[in-house]
Symmetry: C2
């Protein structure tokens, strides 16, 4: 199976597949005489797994950890469960941040109900006079 077919069944681009290989998420496949990558069924499964993790907004580091845990089939799945809990916490943090942001933006929006002159626009006044503290570090990988 060539890279284009693999990409098609996994719903991503060939560039993405090559990128995952470079990042060490997908192992390097055999090559044909023409130096083309040749994939098997286990690559399909692994790539689908990775794409599903990405669809859930996990980082490459999280996915890498997960793949590592999975490959220790003798161990129990406690680490997997924990990783998922932590990732859910990332989502919760970002939802709370966005919720507060939305609140601030809504309040700002209310300060100009109709089209004013620039000088009278409550939004511009608000943006000029807000007192923003030092920027807080990002708590989560979700932007």
């Amino acid at each position: 199976m060539k890279i284009g077919e693999l990409a098609q069944v996994a719903q991503c681009t060939v560039e993405t597949v090559r990128y995952y290989e470079k990042e060490g998420l997908l192992s390097a496949p055999a090559r044909t005489r023409a130096n083309h990558r040749s994939y098997g069924e286990c690559h399909v499964e692994r790539l689908r797994f990775i794409r599903n993790c990405r669809a859930l907004d996990m980082t490459h580091a999280e996915i890498h950890t997960l793949l590592g845990l999975m490959d220790q089939s003798a161990a129990d799945c406690g680490g997997v469960n924990q990783l998922l809990d932590e990732h859910i916490a990332h989502v919760d943090v970002r939802m709370a941040e966005l919720s507060q942001l939305k609140q601030q933006l809504s309040e700002l929006r209310q300060r100009c109900q109709s089209e004013q002159t620039m000088d009278a626009c409550g939004i511009l006044q608000g943006l000029a006079s807000m007192e923003t503290g030092p920027r807080h570090e990002r708590q989560t990988h979700l932007g």
Copy 2:
């Protein structure tokens, strides 16, 4: 006023100030004989404005547009109001996405209630068998 003082009153780093100048958000100031940047009160105001916009997660492109609108003091503020509405929509979109994500993750988490063997872990089974469609284009700049 030197760059270090400006950065301090605007709660950011000198590197950030220089970066904004390079990006065209902050106009290049006069220089001293020693080639050091020398800022006035209008730079303070503009930088604070920019930082406040960033605190509200606007992109540089959005801020650039906003600054352009502001500088046309003859016009009315309709464009400003519209830009803010659009940015609020960006936040709404991302909140909805995260909400759905959280839902999916919670369902997945429920598939493994105690520590199983890897093979039996419902989370890993779920991640292997999810049917993720082609990734949807990002609708918003908020990650």
